[in-house]
Symmetry: C2
Subunit: 309 residues, 2 copies
């Protein structure tokens, strides 16, 4: 019989449960990345060091959490979903490495430490980004990722679409061209949907692909990911505009300094925050058919707009 | 009845047949690339322009020819093999775009015209290279490439292995680190096997993957590709050392100026040419089981070491 004097064990609030689940997903993807990335050896060891430096030990692992949490809705083996989560984090890391280069955003700081081209050199950073992208597709193609070859091909096609010229890289191109220009609200929304939204959307969809879910379920998760990604980007821009370098681990205020097109700059912080909250509620609305199983995904949508770092 | 006074129609020598077949393969892959690369539109149109600039209308298309010619040994549909040839040429083009960047080899000229970062700008060149790599894997994953999902996955795995950190990109890392250092002969051979050899080897193997060939046939073509690639690299370095910018469409003498590690520099042109010829004969020896069907692949091995541009 339990001791009646001990405090009542309340179920953790969804915020605490979310924090615990994000921590666990981060640990699992870290482990997967450590296994899947090559270990430094031979005269090309510097390349592998830079790949590991850029990818390991950093970030909230939002994308990895989405992959693992949406996969859990369909009872997918966590070893498989961690591999897909690792592939997404490799793509994300490669995009940050190239984005930070002097010819691009020219940023010295990333996740509170020197960006890859500062810690190594530009040539090594370019090559490490290139090899991270290759490794991401290789991991998805490997048999350990899913027993069904068609599932692996669907993952590759969806990730390529999200990350390529019609997705993330296209968004980066617009972003760079837009510096110093004034974009309209629809133009900024499209830019951000491509630049960060598509990969977040893929991460939420990946669980449905791994789980061989019905098309309606895959669509619902894709829509959740799309709205979550849009909310996340506004929240990120708010942090850049209002936060400090210490809080965010990135150079603060750099968007404004670079004349970047953001909704925060266009609408002001108050209206931008309002829009982010609306998008988070909209994201949650797509999860109805998943019942209580999707509670952590709902908590994530609330967290994304409430976070302060 | 033919006019007895007209000259006898000799069968074209293998050199002429090779030139015609290479021209045809180049035209086919050009057509496939034009279809598979995105057309410039929207605010990200500059990215698609740069992707097309870097990929279309250039080069001997050695890799494309290898894919199409080895696929022909197994009667593979030319529409399928042209897609794989296009994917390989996208990877090759992306590697040249990034290799030419100021932080890498800093080259202003490529295939007789300004390199991509000179024709556009550095940021656009970095992004175009990135998106070309993504598109290559996407093309291989698409159902039109092969009716068997396992064949598509094998192509993706083999290309990723050839192009990634344990292949081409690893070779580029060693190449950059080696500038100004003196490498031994085995070190140079490994560098070149990674940097250019692996992708040429993949191109020769790709036909066997597409044709669902027996393992021994795939191995024979891989070995052919490996030796051909090594011979090709020495011949390329000889052209750089002895040719002119006008003949080669590239900045001549740049290897020596950059202190690049090549067998030509280590052994001298005569011994290097001897080694290339030996490798070409060795490449041909792997083709024995393919009989007369492989005559053009044999002619290619001879051409690679005899070419003057």
């Amino acid at each position: 019989m339990p001791d009646p004097t001990s405090p009542i064990a309340l179920p953790p609030s969804s915020d605490e449960a979310l924090a615990a689940a994000m921590k666990e997903a981060a640990a699992r993807v870290e482990q997967a990345l450590d296994t899947l990335l090559p270990r430094p050896e031979g005269p090309e060891g510097r390349l592998f060091e830079a790949m590991r430096y850029a990818t390991l030990g950093g970030g909230k692992r939002l994308r990895a959490f989405l992959v693992m949490q949406t996969a859990a809705l369909f009872k997918v083996n966590a070893t498989c979903s961690a591999r897909v989560a690792a592939a997404v984090e490799m793509i994300h890391a490669y995009s940050l490495v190239h984005d930070d280069l002097p010819a691009m955003d020219d940023d010295d700081l990333r996740r509170g430490k020197p960006s890859t081209h500062r810690a190594f050199d530009e040539a090594t950073a370019i090559l490490a980004g290139d090899a991270l992208q290759t490794r991401a597709f290789e991991v998805l193609a490997e048999a350990d990722t899913h027993s069904d070859p068609n599932a692996r091909l669907e993952l590759i096609l969806a990730l390529a679409h999200a990350a390529g010229g019609r997705g993330m890289v296209g968004g980066q191109m617009i972003d760079i061209d837009a510096e110093g220009k004034t974009l309209t609200e629809p133009e900024i929304i499209r830019l951000q949907a491509l630049k960060t939204g598509r990969l977040i959307q893929f991460s939420a969809e990946a669980g449905a692909i791994l789980g061989r879910a019905a098309p309606a379920q895959r669509t619902a998760l894709a829509w959740y990911g799309r709205d979550l990604g849009a909310a996340f980007q506004i929240a990120d821009d708010l942090l850049d505009a209002l936060g400090t370098t210490e809080e965010t681990g990135k150079t603060a205020g750099k968007d404004e300094a670079a004349g970047k097109a953001t909704l925060v700059a266009l609408l002001g912080p108050e209206r931008a925050r309002h829009q982010a909250e609306m998008l988070a509620r909209q994201a949650i609305s797509h999860l109805e058919s998943f019942g209580t199983e999707a509670e952590l995904l709902r908590a994530l949508a609330r967290f994304v707009v409430a976070r302060r770092h």
